[in-house]
């Protein structure tokens, strides 16, 4: 056991590797894919996030002006954030805590007037929205 004794003595002399959770909640690192946040002021209800989602946890309805996210079905892959044409989706740097009820996030997203030619990606989607509406 000589090999292990040296390791154990070394571990006794250094600080513990265990995080003191929940007394000191752990802050995930930069770039962590945590909770999904949508900005209702920017979202144009195009539905790209719903089409890309692998676990079908997003429901976007232009008629009802609503954007729904089911966090307990989400796999936090980040695909929706990447395809969003207006960058209204982002992921927070925190993990979802334990839930006691089935959670659903619903946002009321008001319809927006078509944007003037400000950015290349937003413009074609805004035109399509206006054409369909």
């Amino acid at each position: 056991m000589a090999g292990m004794t040296k390791i154990i003595l070394g571990n006794l002399a250094s600080k513990p590797a265990t995080r003191p959770h929940p007394f000191e909640p752990h802050q995930p690192m930069e770039g962590y894919r945590g909770e999904l946040i949508n900005d209702p002021a920017v979202c144009i209800l195009c539905g790209m996030c719903q089409r890309t989602c692998p676990s079908a946890c997003l429901q976007v309805s232009k008629a009802e002006e609503s954007w729904r996210w089911h966090p307990l079905e989400c796999v936090f892959c980040g695909n929706c954030v990447e395809v969003c044409p207006v960058d209204s989706l982002s992921m927070k740097r925190s993990y979802l805590p334990v839930q006691r009820q089935r959670l659903e996030v619903e946002l009321h997203v008001p319809k927006k007037a078509p944007k003037k030619k400000t950015s290349k990606t937003a413009q074609p989607e805004a035109d399509k929205t206006e054409a369909e509406a």
């Binding site: 090999g3 292990m4 390791i7 770039g31 962590y32 890309t52 692998p54 676990s55 796999v75 892959c77």
Partner: protein
């Protein structure tokens, strides 16, 4: 055959994965082992009918938690070849870095479980303590600890900048020192050697004829490793398979220990030789009709993907042949003749990943 039948698994305190073996035992000596699989069959391959080929990347990564990144990598390699997309060189090197980090984390996990199966819990905790450093690297560079989801069709989603690269290299040095410090406790300990040397012997001919894969094959003396095929940047980084010749559990443990150190070195080389440029090429349109077989090397052995497309956005067929599926016949051959108490360690020595096997 007359004898007592003892069911080992699918739920057993020492097994990390739900593999069921019915052991036919006579007077403590195992005479026959009958495997039964299907406890965790989730039908993931059938999801190709429902999810399109881009969403399948996320599904495929969740076939297994320990080797998830390499599942995603092989799927992306298959689709890239079908669609004629060539990822940029920086993506190739980054993919090697993340795959080898995944291999380090998987082997450290296995070394810990191996020690735990022998009852050596302090060494188990020590290996998992070292593994936490790899988890931190994954979280900082890729966004998540276990299912890192960095491979997409066309390259990688994330990049490693200069500051992160230096930090990762520093952590790798610490990890290498700590892993080397455990060699004496794991491989040269009297009690460990008595329980693993000469147990579960797989001869070279048996390993080759039964189609073993990975460290099970390389522990019996056959120098075969899919990374020799040179996909991604393995040719540029330079790679030689690690081989041992005894064919027993001790040899397989030694192969995995040496591969851990080799993988740390490969990550260093990949990060040192990172070319500049983009990490991703946009892959437009749907894959054309065709079929393709792609192989890569998981921590447990050779992984084979068969992809058949018919021109629509859903794949027609996806078939995954995982290494544990190939390692179960050698396991069934290794077990007869062993005492009952030696069975858990030998079963663990092939590194079973049953969630991969049964998808």
């Amino acid at each position: 055959m007359a004898g007592t039948v003892i069911p080992f698994g699918p739920q057993h305190p020492v097994l990390p994965e739900p593999l069921q073996l019915k052991l036919v035992v006579k007077d403590e000596i195992v005479e026959e082992a009958v495997p039964q699989m299907g406890y965790v069959h989730r039908g993931l391959e059938a999801l190709v009918k429902v999810k399109d080929f881009k969403q399948m990347t996320q599904v495929v990564e969740r076939i297994c938690g320990i080797c998830s990144s390499i599942h995603g990598l092989t799927y992306c390699l298959a689709l890239e070849e079908l669609m004629g997309v060539q990822p940029p060189p920086r993506a190739d090197y980054l993919r090697v870095a993340w795959s080898e980090l995944h291999r380090v984390h998987s082997h450290l996990l296995w070394l810990g479980l191996f020690a735990d199966a022998l009852g050596f819990e302090s060494l188990f905790m020590q290996y998992w303590r070292i593994r936490e450093k790899v988890m931190d690297i994954m979280e900082a560079t890729a966004g998540n600890r276990v299912i890192i989801s960095v491979n997409v069709i066309g390259g990688t989603r994330r990049d490693i900048d200069e500051a992160q690269r230096k930090w990762v290299l520093g952590l790798l040095d610490e990890m290498e020192r700590e892993v080397k410090a455990t060699e004496r406790a794991l491989l040269h300990d009297y009690a460990v050697k008595r329980r693993t040397v000469g147990k579960g012997v797989l001869t070279r001919e048996q390993a080759y004829d039964l189609g073993a894969a990975g460290p099970t094959l390389r522990g019996s003396g056959v120098a075969q490793d899919m990374r020799q095929l040179g996909f991604c940047a393995y040719k540029e980084v330079g790679f030689e398979p690690v081989v041992e010749h005894d064919g027993d559990s001790w040899a397989r443990a030694k192969v995995r220990y040496r591969e851990t150190l080799q993988s740390i070195e490969l990550v260093r080389r990949a990060l040192a030789g990172l070319p500049a440029g983009e990490t991703m090429v946009k892959a437009k349109g749907k894959p054309p009709a065709g079929e393709l077989v792609v192989r890569s090397e998981q921590p447990r052995g050779e992984l084979l993907y068969y992809v058949k497309t018919d021109g629509s956005k859903n794949l027609e067929r996806l078939r995954v042949r995982t290494p544990t599926f190939a390692n179960v016949p050698p396991l069934v051959v290794m077990l007869p003749g062993l005492e009952l108490a030696d069975v858990p360690v030998v079963v663990l020595s092939i590194d079973p990943c049953v969630s991969c096997t049964e998808r």
